[in-house]
Symmetry: C2
Subunit: 186 residues, 2 copies
DNA sequence: TCTGAAAATCTAGTCTG
DNA sequence: CAGACTAGATTTTCAGA
């Protein structure tokens, strides 16, 4: 066996060079990921259209989506699979009319809570509390609740008052609820 | 032909009686419809389970639902069809991660609006406004908005200030969002 | 409850920018 | 070379008997 030292060195250098380039590209990627618009890959036009359609009707078939956006069914399926696995699509949910359960009113309740009171458990267990956010400012939490009638709402408020003082506004009109998420406007 | 006045009168009375009873029952029905839990037929246990499953996963097949609640696929299909046609199920929607569109923050904006300013159109056209409710009290409207960054949020608020004065709270934590609707608790 | 027609999804293998 | 397409195989879905 013969050793060719010179060629080996060149090869080694080349390998190192390649490695450095790859490393730099990687760092740029990471920096982008941290500084830019989140960890998500950019959504192209097709992705956006797919997401728009699935937000409108989650049960639409991949073939039908393909027909509407001029893409083949396998392409659509592949994209949807990617969107699901990267958590862009978080799930598919039926939208149920609260009236069907006898809920005749909706209210927004703001809860000004003392530090350290654990209302989170209560909130997740109470069927009537549909949304709950912790926010900046005076009101520690804002929630949207369903109630069958005024008495029911009163009972809910009483329960919440254990955690702090509340302020309730009854919903008169719902202009939009759960509008489809789409690209930010200018 | 022979006239039996007495029997005819009795028959007439009977008919009137029946009519009155029917009328009363009808009125009771109507009263119930107005006073009780809305115009919706009562949901039995199976319906409730079906709704729970479809809220969890809108793409679940009827057969799979049947398997989980011990009901045949045709029964499930029939029930779902009924729930859809009576508007108990209003639709099926994909739940999209706002981060994927670059939205890095959510805010609750309260808008105290002067009477008669038509913000409804603006609200429905602005992609960033996801929910918007008219409520009782000082704040005429409460909305949930998405923003890519603080500057973006500022631009939104500026636009909204055309309609009245606003008060903004930035969402720090989302405890629950769009919890499945289910029967009211005791 | 069972069964068959229709549809939806998956799997290749191929092609193009 | 990633991503799109066609076509065929396979599985699912749903509705009527």
């Amino acid at each position: 066996m013969v050793f060719h030292t010179i060629p080996t060195e060149t090869a080694l250098l080349k390998t190192i060079q390649k490695g450095i380039i790859r490393l730099c590209l990687g760092l740029i990627e990471i920096e982008r990921g941290l500084a830019m618009e989140s960890k998500f890959a950019k959504l192209d036009n097709y992705d956006q259209k797919i997401l728009a359609l699935l937000q409108q009707d989650a049960r639409m078939s991949h073939a039908e989506i393909g027909r509407q956006i001029h893409l083949s069914q396998p392409s659509v399926s592949e994209r949807i699979k990617r969107l699901e696995s990267t958590n862009v699509i978080r799930g598919y949910h039926a939208d149920i009319n609260p009236d069907a359960f006898g809920y005749q009113m909706t209210a927004m309740i703001r809860l000004s809570t003392q530090q350290g009171r654990p209302y989170a458990d209560f909130v997740s267990q109470q069927a009537e509390i549909i949304d709950c956010y912790t926010v900046t400012g005076e009101d520690g939490a804002v929630m949207r609740v369903l109630a069958t009638d005024v008495a029911h709402l009163q009972r809910l408020i009483d329960k919440l008052n254990r955690f702090g003082s509340t302020s309730t506004a009854i919903v008169l009109t719902t202009h939009v609820s759960g509008k489809a998420v789409s690209m930010p406007q200018a």
